[in-house]
């Protein structure tokens, strides 16, 4: 266990059971988040990113989801062992989550102000109604919405504004950790830039750590100090931003970069990763990426793949890397 880390996920395994089929959503994931830092969790749809975030908050629907194993330490305490009552105190207060779709994250029947005030009232019980309202207005101002809009309803806001409200709700109780699940995917690119800048500013001001879940490598490059790449429920590469962007090592990570159309480089044809993401109820044996990997060998088809520390702090789960540490790549 990483002693320094504020949030530590160790060997998390989550399954979904449905129609007698078992879906292996998360398979032995370990992640570490330090105070005030931003960790980008990158992967495609179905890789297990949202499941991890919901596991931290323990809001997975149970059934069909089941946390089969692993520990999640927050400041030294295992969240898996906490009672529901204790989790209620943590959600929204110590750990807050921003969901992907701002259109459905807000209750259409309550004003935006009421929704922010609600979060505040639940966790700061000694505040009066008026005090909670005042604090909610401050939050609105902080995310760039005039306080007069407290009484307006979600339908009166555009997508970008709604997402700001969601962020205000998440940050209202000054959480130590922010889980942001694709917070800007649904937004236009100029609005995305504004929202990301705002999140960064607020983060710096309050020292909030952030786990940013996304599929967009560009967003990761702009906002995250550390990056972890997830494929079929496993972290296949992790390290600092420089490690991943300057020296991508895992064939999947390299494949992702190669398949992106680039603004700076002229290419006639893109190089997509062949094949499809695996069926999570029927994952390949050995390395889960081997059916699509151009470097795959016999070794890759069975057995557990070693997690190699390619350079200090830069980990890659691939047989190909097993020579590297000796070479000091």
């Amino acid at each position: 266990m990483n002693e320094k880390a504020f949030l530590s996920i160790n060997n998390l395994t989550v399954e979904y059971t449905s129609n007698k089929k078992v879906i292996h959503a998360v398979n032995g994931v370990s992640l570490h988040l330090n105070h005030g830092e931003t960790l980008g969790l990158v992967g495609e749809t179905g890789a297990g990113k949202t499941t991890i975030a919901k596991s931290i908050l323990r809001i997975l629907p149970n059934p069909p989801a089941r946390i089969k194993g692993g520990e999640i330490f927050l400041g030294g305490e295992d969240l898996m062992k906490k009672a529901e009552k204790e989790m209620l105190d943590i959600r929204g207060n110590k750990i807050a989550m921003i969901f992907q779709d701002p259109m459905t994250a807000l209750n259409p029947l309550l004003t935006v102000g009421e929704q922010i005030a609600e979060v505040i009232s639940i966790h700061e019980k000694n505040l009066t109604k008026d005090q909670a309202e005042k604090k909610a207005m401050e939050m609105l101002e902080m995310v760039g919405i005039t306080a007069e809009r407290y009484i307006e309803f979600p339908f009166q806001f555009s997508g970008g504004m709604k997402q700001r409200v969601v962020i205000a709700m998440a940050l209202a109780c000054n959480p130590q950790i922010l889980l942001a699940d694709e917070p800007t995917t649904a937004l236009d690119v100029t609005i995305q830039a504004q929202v990301l800048q705002m999140i960064k500013k607020l983060q710096e001001k309050n020292g909030t750590a952030m786990l940013l879940i996304t599929h967009d490598l560009g967003v990761v490059a702009e906002t995250c100090e550390n990056v972890a790449v997830i494929y079929a429920g496993e972290i296949i590469e992790s390290g600092t931003r420089e490690d991943l962007f300057d020296h991508p090592t895992h064939p999947y990570t390299c494949g992702l970069f190669d398949s992106l159309p680039k603004l700076t480089v002229e290419t006639k044809r893109l190089s997509p990763i062949s094949g499809m993401t695996p069926d999570p109820s029927d994952l390949p044996k050995g390395c889960k990426f081997h059916p699509r990997c151009k470097y795959a060998t016999e070794t890759c088809t069975a057995g557990e793949v070693p997690n190699v520390e390619v350079t200090p702090g830069h980990f890659c789960q691939c047989w190909k890397c097993v020579g590297y540490e000796q070479e000091g790549k």
């Binding site: 690119v189 100029t190 830039a193 800048q197 420089e242 159309p261 680039k262 997509p272």
Partner: protein, 317 residues
Amino acid sequence: MNPVIEIKDLKKHFNVAAGKNHAVDGVSFKIQKGRTMGVVGESGCGKSTLGRTIIRLLEPTSGQILLGGEDVTFAKGKALIHAREKMQIIFQDPYSSLNPRFTVEDTIAEPLQISKKYGSKKEITDAVMELFHRVGIDDRFRSAYPHEMDGGRRQRVGIARAIALNPEFVMCDEPVSALDVSIQAQVINLLMDLQDEFGLTYMFVTHDLSVVKHISDDISVMYLGQLIETSPANELFRMPLHPYTKALLSAIPSIDIHNGMKQIMLKGELTSAINPHPGCRFAPRCPYAKEECHQPQKLYEAEKDHFVACCRIKEIG
């Protein structure tokens, strides 16, 4: 040689409760055979409406649409049927664009059945299997239903349906936006291969600037219904002229961590195209806006083949 598509001052307005929505307001451009015109812009810019109006899924309010030189703006009856066969569309949402009760074979065969191009059932089946092969769908998916396939495959079905009638022009409405990154590349390659093989002409609508740069020969930028800049693709990225284009390009999060562009932050939110004031619709958010920006702006040729609708280009520099 007539361009495959030419639109002149095309307008599409909708009557809404609050007044008139000027969704597409006076757009003009030409697309030559075998080329791709990328159309970019953010929410509410009217790019999807423009595409659907060109292929006559929506009725134009005014202006002209010329298909290979022929005026199809208000075509009816047989002329419209004929025109529609030459202009097809690929949709953004690979689930909603396929009838959930139709098998893959049904979906692709339908345009062939309607057009009566083929006589017998066998001819149609052969043509369908040929299309499967062309777009890379395995034979075993013949009797599959959309819900049994992933997004990438469904999108290939949509593409097969669009090219079934050998159209001249295909409107691609954000065809890869709903797909995962690794699948996007596969589908983009497919679209480009088909273009080379069949000499197709594309209008590629998207909000993803890296994709549009890769696939387009020319790019048009739209903002709230107005065409504000158009030029060859590389030129637009090398030297964007309109302040909005500059802001848009700078806002793209870059994966080049050492040479990021300085982001130009725009103030405010998008206004709407309902009952708009005359003049540039970007003015309220533009850092360079002056009094003359509230006059109607005209698209003029600032550099060779590079058109822009902004009166302050020279001063901004």
